[in-house]
Amino acid sequence: MSLLGVDLATVLELGQDHLLLAGVPLLVGLALAIPLGWLATRRGWLYPPLVAGTGLLYTIPSLALFILLPGFLGTRILDPVNVLVAMTVYTLALLTRTVADALLSVPGHVRQAATAMGYGPARRFLAVDLPLAVPVISAGLRVAAVSNVSIVSVAALVGVSQLGSLFTDGFNRNAMGPIVVGVIGCVVLAVLFDLVILLVTRLLTPWKVSAS
């Protein structure tokens, strides 16, 4: 079966690669951003360097990062690990600030009430602060997910195969079909991420009538 001259099995395979290259860094980045963001709110002086520092990483253009990482990691340039690390860096850059701001947005009276009820700092963070920060973190995660999907496609230029490979393939053969299929694939993937994040957010924040 084929779609606009592209074999459907190939599309699915590339889509799966794309999903992993964009999705795994999203989870790893989030897992790293939570403690970093927490640190930035706990120690006020750490907030500017952490947020500005991770923000600087975000300014590095993706193609440049894909090319530079092998130099630091000792990997080969075609290695998908470079892309995974680069996408984790971007996710982290975006989410550290989001997590910090989300935690700061938890109302002080709620936090004080929790402390007054006898929550220790660690339990209060897990049971009160973090759940209440979910809506804001989720909004940041949605942005990160969509931009990850788009950026990953650039990795086709350094030869890492995913949906972006359809772009280079189509361009080299002067064929519009594969490029359009690739764009559609990316958009579908982005929407998929968005829906999953929305769904999980809704499950995590049953007190919100609609998570948006």
């Binding site: 006020g44 300014t59 530079l68 092998p70 340039i77």
Partner: protein
């Protein structure tokens, strides 16, 4: 890494038409032109949407949808569509620049309208109540108050442009991206990495300049100046904690 340093310090790479300064300037030129064109479209549109609240939903959705569309794909589509229709020198540059503009419009637009939208309604009401005409409210209150978010949007649009201009070397656009793409073609990693470092430096430098510009034009009353507000806030916190 030593090879990268060697490539970066080789005088031969710093002269001539394809040299580092020439390519950096070309990169900057495309980027600035694209940013200005994007602002030309996005700023008035953002002011309109923010000031009137009309078309807000459309603006939000377009901005969101554009983020999902991969820039590389759009770039290739633009080239395949436009290249046969264009002639002369412009033929190679125009499709890329159109894409650069297209990608920078959403962040600038959403920055401007979000900036206008978050202006304190009480300040806006007071401005009208004091007898400002609508354009005076816009120019004297809404725009100055929107600057932090608007410039943030412009900065992120500029980063998007610089990144995409790098990629556009694949379709023949000049600029620092040439070193990355040409280096890859001949498997010259030092040239690729050297170029990548230059691109990163260009992006950081441009963002820094825009950041300084932001500091210069945004009223300290909106940012809390040099931590004065932050200091008074912590003082307040301490007072509350004690009380």
């Amino acid at each position: 890494m030593a090879d990268v340093l060697a490539w970066l310090t080789d005088p031969a790479n710093w002269s001539g038409q394809g040299g580092i300064p020439a390519q950096a300037l070309a990169h900057l030129r495309y980027s600035v032109i694209a940013l200005l064109l994007a602002c030309l479209v996005a700023v008035p549109l953002g002011l309109y949407v923010g000031h009137t609240g009309r078309g807000r939903v459309v603006a939000v959705n377009i901005a969101g949808a554009f983020r999902a569309i991969p820039s590389l794909g759009v770039l290739f589509i633009a080239v395949l569509l436009l290249l046969p229709r264009l002639r002369g020198e412009l033929a190679f540059e125009a499709p890329s620049i159109i894409v650069l503009v297209l990608l920078a419009v959403p962040p600038v637009l959403s920055g401007v309208y979000a900036g206008i939208e978050q202006v304190d309604p009480a300040a806006r009401d007071a401005a009208h109540g004091m007898g400002m005409r609508p354009w005076q409210v816009l120019a004297q209150v809404e725009v100055p108050c929107a600057l932090p978010l608007a410039i943030a949007g412009i900065r992120s649009g500029m980063l998007q442009i610089i990144a995409t201009a790098t990629i556009a070397a694949v379709v023949g656009l000049g600029g620092l991206g040439r070193f990355l793409i040409d280096g890859q073609a001949v498997r010259d990693y030092p040239q690729m990495a050297g170029g990548a470092l230059l691109v990163a430096a260009l992006a950081l430098g441009t963002d820094l300049v825009l950041g300084l510009a932001q500091r210069a034009v945004v009223s300290p009353g909106l940012t809390g100046g040099t931590g004065l507000r932050a200091r008074s806030a912590t003082a307040l916190d301490r007072r509350l904690a004690r009380g």
